[in-house]
């Protein structure tokens, strides 16, 4: 696969997850390590990921939730979206590939009403050319504030966010009941972690509200919810102190 880790591109969240899980080759792992070593943003995210794993380990089970990759993906997608707002927005996992892959000279022809027209991808233009071609296609597009498709999309995203919030709420209710039996230190550790996850959701929701119709921002919010749900489910299943006692 082409590089997703150029000096200007962050490591994709999926790649980070695979790296932390030990699921990529040594050569790919070396590339990830090199990028993380040189990129403070990615290093912070990896530390955050590891930190969450540590929090969970403190609670008893030495396995970080395997779905945390989505959290980093959301953050990086949002960063990409901010960096490239106004330009063509590719998904993060494609953005990296764009950097080095496309060199072909390809033209796309449309037969329009019996005439043939070139809408133009040429040379390395699929990177910039994608933008150019898209610009031609989208001339006269409506603004974000009045586009009914954007309104429709925003409704769908809000519905999904509500589902995430509902699931997290149910887990939280279970946790509230369970942790009444816990010792204060454990309750404090869980509360501290939940407060951080709540902050992430509030922050992500703020970003999403500032950028309605931005799929990357919505994905960032969903990722924050998934992190919270993963954590709550882990804690609920791990249960009260000593749940494993006698079982091992």
């Amino acid at each position: 696969m082409t590089s997703q880790m150029s000096s200007t591109r962050h490591v994709t969240a999926e790649r980070v997850s695979e790296w932390l899980d030990g699921d990529i080759s040594e050569r790919e792992a070396a590339a990830v390590r090199a990028h993380v070593a040189a990129c403070p943003t990615c290093a912070d995210l990896v530390n955050e990921l590891r930190g969450q794993g540590d929090s969970l380990r403190e609670l008893g089970r030495p396995e970080p939730p395997p779905t945390l990759w989505a959290a980093i993906e959301g953050v990086m997608d949002a960063e990409d979206a901010r960096a490239e707002r106004g330009r063509w927005s590719w998904p993060s996992w494609l953005a990296g590939a764009l950097g080095g892959a496309v060199t072909a000279a390809i033209a796309v022809w449309l037969v329009v009403g019996g005439r043939t027209a070139t809408v133009g991808l040429a040379g390395g233009a699929a990177v910039g050319g994608g933008e150019g071609a898209l610009g031609a296609q989208t001339a006269g597009a409506t603004g974000t504030g009045s586009d009914p498709l954007l309104v429709e999309a925003e409704r769908e995203l809000e519905r999904a966010a509500a589902s995430y919030a509902k699931a997290a709420g149910r887990l939280r209710a279970i946790l509230d009941r369970e942790q009444a039996r816990w010792d204060p230190a454990r309750r404090a550790r869980v509360a501290e972690r939940l407060a951080r996850l709540d902050d992430a959701i509030v922050h992500s929701r703020g970003v999403a509200e500032r950028d309605p119709g931005d799929g990357a921002s919505a994905e960032m919010l969903f990722s924050a919810y998934r992190r919270q749900i993963d954590f709550l489910a882990e804690v609920v299943h791990r249960g009260s102190p000593g749940i494993e006692e006698g079982l091992r």
């Binding site: 395997p66 892959a101 000279a105 597009a141 429709e152 999309a153």
Partner: protein, 372 residues
């Protein structure tokens, strides 16, 4: 309702791609143009797309008029190793076909109006590194976006060489993969996930919709928030499934490490217990049940339940405290006194069953019942 497929003419077979020495990749943008019959030819590359004009179909029996459009593409993909599909606008079906050097893509679009239909795009890109990407996008707010819509949709059916690794993502559309031999990674917010006859690692992430995963020769890691999970005939080293609000039913698992956990739903394992294997079944609020098929060769049970464990298989308790207990099957306990007990104990499967609020049940199912 008239379907998009009804408008699709027979597919023209594409001639082989003539890959020039400098042609490291191909980027092809498929653009819906209202009321235009169209073909796309990539110059010397010789890629052919057969399509049909978007048409406003007659109103369905109870639905509003729909504009529909169908496109098909067969494209050579020499050297391709991985396929990534991102379709927030509808469903994705990926299935293996018998060609090793080409891919067949069918895109069916539907919308409430031709104008909205024309803003739905499907992009196919072949990258030099062996990666193929297919993306559905909507043009909105002046640029293309990866956004879901409720009144418009794009459904993708993709036939691929079996050895292609697949990653696919939808928003509300269903995800289905069949016949793959290099694993699959699937993510959806609200679509149902169906996996069948796959070799290689299978990983899923889902908010809601349910999952059915069957006949996998590889490790399986399923993650869901809402919806039931059904696992059947899984033969990797490890099977893990987690769901918050839904049941997990697993049958015929041939893995040595099985971890199934539901928060509010039931967890049911049905099948033969393998020697040396470890089964960890947990629920917070639901029943946890293991139905052992065939004559049990003996296993160790570690259970947590607020009510007494219900077991149809005689158990000998080793340790018990509060709602937790350890036991072995009575037949195993008898063998523990014999001289061959060490080897027997080492190969004995361990079954952990935990339910905070629900029952823990151990059943015995005669093999003959299973075969009927």
């Amino acid at each position: 309702m008239m379907t998009a497929a009804a408008h699709r003419p027979p597919l023209s077979e594409a001639p082989p791609l003539a890959w020039g020495a400098s042609a490291l990749s191909l980027a092809l943008v498929l653009i819906a143009v209202p009321r235009v019959s169209w073909a796309v030819v990539g110059g010397d590359a010789g890629v052919v797309v057969a399509g049909a004009a978007p048409v406003s179909s007659p109103a369905a029996a109870s639905g509003p008029p729909r504009a529909v459009d169908g496109r098909e593409l067969i494209v050579p993909i020499p050297g391709a190793e991985r396929l990534r599909v991102d379709n927030p606008l509808g469903g994705i079906v990926v299935r293996a076909w018998d060609r090793a050097d080409a891919m067949h893509i069918t895109a069916d679009k539907q919308s409430s109006s031709p104008e909205a239909l024309a803003r739905l795009r499907v992009h196919f890109t072949a990258w030099a590194g062996g990666e193929i990407s297919i993306e559905a996008r909507v043009e909105a707010g002046g640029r293309e976006r990866a956004l879901p819509l409720s009144a418009s949709r794009v459904d993708l059916v993709i036939e691929v060489p079996a050895e292609l690794g697949v990653e696919a993502k939808t928003f509300a559309g269903d995800l289905s993969v069949t016949g793959l031999r290099a694993g699959a990674r699937l993510e959806t917010t609200g679509g149902r996930i169906v996996v069948n006859d796959v070799h290689g690692r299978v990983i899923t992430h889902q908010l809601r919709g349910g999952q059915s995963v069957a006949a996998v020769e590889g490790d399986v890691d399923l993650d869901g928030v809402e919806g039931h999970m059904h696992l059947d005939r899984l033969a990797g080293t490890r099977v893990e499934a987690r769901v918050v609000d839904g049941d997990i039913r697993a049958e015929d698992l041939r893995s040595d490490d099985v971890r199934l956990s539901a928060t509010t739903g039931a967890v049911v394992l049905f099948g033969v217990l393998r020697p040396h294997a470890h089964y960890d079944l947990r629920s917070y609020g639901g029943e946890v049940r293991v139905a052992v098929v065939g004559a049990p060769a003996g296993f160790e049970l570690r259970a947590r339940s607020s009510v007494p464990v219900v077991s149809a298989i005689p158990l000998a308790t080793i340790w018990q405290k509060g709602d937790r207990m350890r036991a072995v099957t009575a037949s195993s306990a008898a063998r523990m006194t014999s001289t061959a007990s060490a080897a027997t104990a080492a190969s004995r499967p361990v079954v952990e069953l935990s339910s905070v609020l629900g029952r823990v049940v151990v059943e015995s199912v005669p093999l003959v019942d299973r075969l009927q």
